[in-house]
Amino acid sequence: MDYKKLIKTALLAGEMMIISGAEMRRVEDTMSYILSVAPASSFTVFAVSTGITVSLWTDDKVYTLSSRVRGREANLLTIYLVNNVSRDLSEGKIDIFEAYDRLCDIRHKKQYNIYLKFLAYMGVCISFTLLFGGNAYDFWASLPISFVMVGAYFLLAYLGLNGFFVNMFTTMVLVFAAYGLKKYVFLDFNRELLIISSIMLLLPGVAFTTAVRDILNGDYISGMGRMLEAIVTALSVAAGAGVAIWIFHRVFA
């Protein structure tokens, strides 16, 4: 049994799960599934949202690896595929080397190209106007507004701005677009409904949900970290909306 490879595989799987935004219980479970392949050994896995430590005892040796995990990008495909790899491995369908290779492949997997992503971002904003009971005017107005907003979001994210300011400036662009369109183009749409529909895209539903589940599982450190992330994200959207409304009232009205 190649214990070094095994523990490296487990660590890699855990890192990928954390970065993709899985809850800590699942990260630790996945790593435990992988490590339990080793015969005659015991192990400990400790994962928090910023790092992992994993130890494996065999008859004559102890292996310990730790890893500092940075960066976060919600990616459900990665969670799904890593989960499948650990499941296949613990069921004995694949061996440890194949598992490691498959994990490395997952990292480079791109499912949707950037144009489709762009349309999906816009689709969220546009669909929400329908969901909140918007009429035909709201629907048509949401096309240009969501285009401008998502364009701003992609540009700011591409420039590598801090997440807080990406959210804040995107919300400002959105509010300016909605207020401006209403004031100067005279489209008969519901301005508040459009803004609310579009900020749904930026609000921290994912972080909040994961935070709640972490706390329920007893992973209080990670749960509080994620909860703070959710609060900060919500504040960034609120700050953006506030600043934009204030400027618009002072300067243009």
Partner: protein, 138 residues
Amino acid sequence: MLIKIIGAFLAVASFSIVLNMPKHLIVYAGVVGAFSWLMNLYMGELTDNQVIVAFASTLVVTVLSNLFAKLFKSPVTLFLVSGILPSVPGGAIYYTVYYMLSDDAVYSNRYFAETLQIAGAIALAIFLVESMVRIKRK
């Protein structure tokens, strides 16, 4: 009514693309969203209390997510994080800021409290269903 449900389906389906959902599961994520909004509209008829409405629709999301996760052998997170989106209190957050800037503290505080209450209701609904699921497993 039907347009709203279709809107919910499309919203959650496209949000799941944003989150890089596996292709074959996008439709089911949309179904979760559609049912949660159906519940939301139904409860909206019965009561004006947004907190109860959010609680009920999150219950639907969590139950369906756990069900689909079992059916398709995938983590619950996949369906849960995208399906929860329509229940997020976006309107309450916006109006908190909006009235704060209109110097209307009464409304601003009311919407701020509503934001926190809805967040709490969502958390409680997830807590409830997930702990039920765990009881059954033992």
